[in-house]
């Protein structure tokens, strides 16, 4: 990856994290942990990979992104705002009465959101429908769907996986944000979602692994997934829940909780320090 691009992506991801914290803090609720774990991948998709146009968010030929783990929308909103889909000021009133930005993604009200989601397991099915529509119309757009690791406990994920492989949806790339934690504890303790790679392989997917915080790996892996023909791909992205904010990293408790004023200041200071280092 070009060094200047790498540097830009890192800085943008830092800003995505800052706006994620801003949104959740002002909302006094929301899901910072999984937003921060997914921030680098979303940054890569919106600032490098996807063919999208903020001036024409409903362009029929655009690439699609479905945030199946819809509760992590603070990071999606930050990426969309920074990409120019709407003003960043909207993030300051996230989850407020009358706000455009809802607690979970609303495709009707928010430019750039391709599917309403939030009830776990449902986004991946919609992504399959979008990919199938492209096949039917001879369109060449791709559909990216981001799932949580805990979300993969939903049976519907595997119904969708069966469907995607059966209909050879090679224009679908699923990305599992494998941060290892869910509300009630570690994924391993709660449900034992063991050998997820083998599970997807058995369902007919081409399976890739990557470090979800390493942009060069993200690029390399997504390029490989794009080259797969005749079957869908899934990328198991190893991530750190709460990534970028020291006290949130790998902590179950930061799944769905807003920082208080002191914690907010610490988070913003840390992220600004990271940003300054990148800009130096």
């Amino acid at each position: 990856m070009d060094k200047s691009l790498l540097s830009e992506l890192k800085k943008t991801a830092c800003k995505v994290r800052l706006w994620t914290i801003e949104g959740v803090f002002n909302a006094k609720s929301g899901h910072p942990g999984g937003s921060l774990s997914a921030a680098d991948i979303m940054t890569y998709l919106y600032f490098k990979e996807m063919n999208v146009d903020p001036a024409n968010p409903k362009d029929p030929g655009r690439d699609r992104f479905v945030l199946s783990k819809g509760h992590c929308c603070p990071a999606l909103y930050a990426a969309l705002a920074l990409r120019g889909f709407f003003p960043t000021d909207e993030i300051k009133v996230l989850r407020h009465i009358g706000a455009m930005l809802q607690g979970h993604p609303d495709m009707k009200g928010t430019p750039g959101v391709d599917m309403s989601s939030g009830s776990l397991g449902q986004g991946i099915s919609a992504a399959c429908g979008m990919a199938l529509a492209a096949k039917l119309s001879g369109a060449d757009y791709r559909v990216f769907a981001m799932l949580g690791d805990g979300e993969c406990e939903e049976g519907q994920v595997w119904e969708a996986a069966m469907f995607a492989a059966h209909y050879k949806l090679d224009n679908l790339i699923a990305i599992v944000d494998f941060n290892g934690l869910q509300i009630d504890g570690t994924v391993a303790d709660v449900a034992g979602l063991d050998k997820i790679d083998e599970k997807f392989k058995a369902f007919g997917f081409e399976v890739f692994q990557m470090d979800g915080h390493d942009f060069e790996q993200i690029e390399e892996t997504i390029e490989k997934a794009k080259a797969v023909k005749g079957k869908p791909s899934v990328i198991i992205a190893k991530t750190v829940k709460g990534k970028g904010v020291s006290y949130m990293e790998n902590k179950v408790g930061w799944h769905g909780k807003a920082p208080n004023a002191d914690e907010y200041k610490t988070a913003v200071d840390e992220l600004n320090t990271q940003l300054k280092a990148l800009e130096a």
Partner: protein, 313 residues
Amino acid sequence: MAETKKIATRESFGMALCELAKEHDDIVVLDADLAAATKTEIFKKAYPDRFFDCGISEANMIGVAAGLATAGKVPFAASFAMFATGRAYEQVRNSVGYPHLNVKIAGSHAGITVGEDGATHQCCEDLALMRTIPGMVVLNPADHYEMIEATKAAYAYNGPVYIRLGRLAIESFNDPDNYTFEIGKGITLEEGTDATVIATGLVVNEALKAVRALKEKGINVRLINMHTIKPIDKDIIIKAAKETGKIITVEEHNIIGGLGEAVAAVTAENCPVPVHRIGVEDTFGHSGPALGLLAEFGLDAAGLEEKISSLLK
């Protein structure tokens, strides 16, 4: 005039899909391993490239339909009413209803007339479930011709629609040369002043026979075919309440949550009159031949005639 040949509305639905597909490239049909039963197989044979079997995965099927709709397709997703609206209720609510996507959901084998399969498959709750979802149109056509027109109207309407299909072959009573279907507009089949019967779906023809028999006995009952449960035709209900003073609803559905309560809400808020609900009385069905069950539940012409007559004494 109407033919006497019996035809199930599921079959009419399959035929209507084919008619629509001739003119509209955007129609896509999904099923969940029940194409032979829901009669989407008629479409599958004619348009195999636009038919997708999702396997026994109703939740995913509804989501796939939602995704197709976001990309401009007009998906019709079919299964048994029990599974399309029951098992996949939350997918219909969140992936179709909330984003108000242009998805048509067809629930076949609705009501007790599934027959021998028994209670697990006799869905008497689908109308209730679907009408609670904001923005959902709920259709319950009563015969072959109405189903053909309702399916076309569902396609023409831009938004989510639930259509109830029946398994049992039934007579057609509508005159195809003199019939128009409009979403949300009930149809007066018989004029009358003593009371009004408002029926929906498969039992409309039974109610028609009952009302005609009562007329011969000097009981002058109005009959309205309420093919649209939501949006409900308030005007026709209020007019009937004012002019006849008493309403009796007839549905092959639990009396909780269906047509009867929709009608009662309109009268209670606009023109309070007695409303009596005839239907499945908050119980599960059981195995048996469809016509036998219809009689047992008092929803055949003879049972309805007796019940309506007793309510008007």
